[in-house]
Symmetry: C2
Subunit: 145 residues, 2 copies
């Protein structure tokens, strides 16, 4: 399963449509569960909430601006290889100030898509698109638009 | 002026809304002109078309995956500093295979937001959001969501 833990409601209808579009596309390849938590604006409370959904038996990836940067092809390989040993890959997207150090240290991997900061809603869409792209790459299907 | 030369129609209504949202937000700070060219699927024809809108007196930035990577703060500074000497900053977003070498060599700067590949429509939205963010940063306005 692909599990996504994210914080804060989406503020625009087009973001819901963007995210639902890619969620549906991913579902053709794999089970996906998006867990949207409240944006607590309190790092300790937020960490506590995330930890309720955190499972050390899963492969946990924190999305962090300073994390490791890899190409879409290497991201696809990471997903493919991780599913050999893990039944669930969990992605954690923090709120505007990022995920707490405590969770970053616990996670298997800190990953970054950019040196740039994006709004969390748009970032959620970007992550889903990259996951979808990964499944397309891993299935040798053409996808470059 | 901010000028954006991009290729190919947007395929989803939510992408139009995403892009129009940020276009309107940018317009509060600066004039912006989005030039959407046909996706020619022929690199030579595409280059020819882009060059019709290319002006060497403007500061031309090609968005290229292998380009220079900078943070949102440095991107904001780049925009601020460039407008001292140039009246127009032009961003060129290629189609799925990127912009031709000819245009990359002509441009003032090749810039990258990520090692990952994104669909051109989503990338258009990402660029607009970063430009909007730059104006917010340059105006010392809070924006981190």
């Amino acid at each position: 399963m692909i599990k996504i833990i994210c914080l804060g409601k989406l503020k625009k209808q087009y973001l819901y449509e963007f995210i639902n579009d890619y969620k549906k596309r991913i579902e053709k390849y794999h089970k996906i569960n998006i867990i949207e938590l409240k944006d607590y604006e309190n790092k300790e409370k937020e960490t506590e909430e995330i930890l309720k959904y955190y499972n050390s038996n899963e492969f946990n990836i924190v999305m962090a601006i300073e994390g490791k940067k890899i190409s879409s092809e290497k991201f696809a390989k990471l997903i493919n290889d991780t599913f050999i040993n893990y039944s669930t890959i969990t992605f954690i997207i923090g709120s505007s100030n990022g995920v707490s150090e405590k969770i970053k240290e616990k996670a298997n991997l800190n990953l970054s898509f950019s040196d740039n900061t994006f709004p969390h809603g748009i970032f959620r869409g970007i992550l889903l698109e990259q996951i979808y792209r990964a499944f397309k790459i891993n299935n040798n299907e053409i996808y470059h638009k």
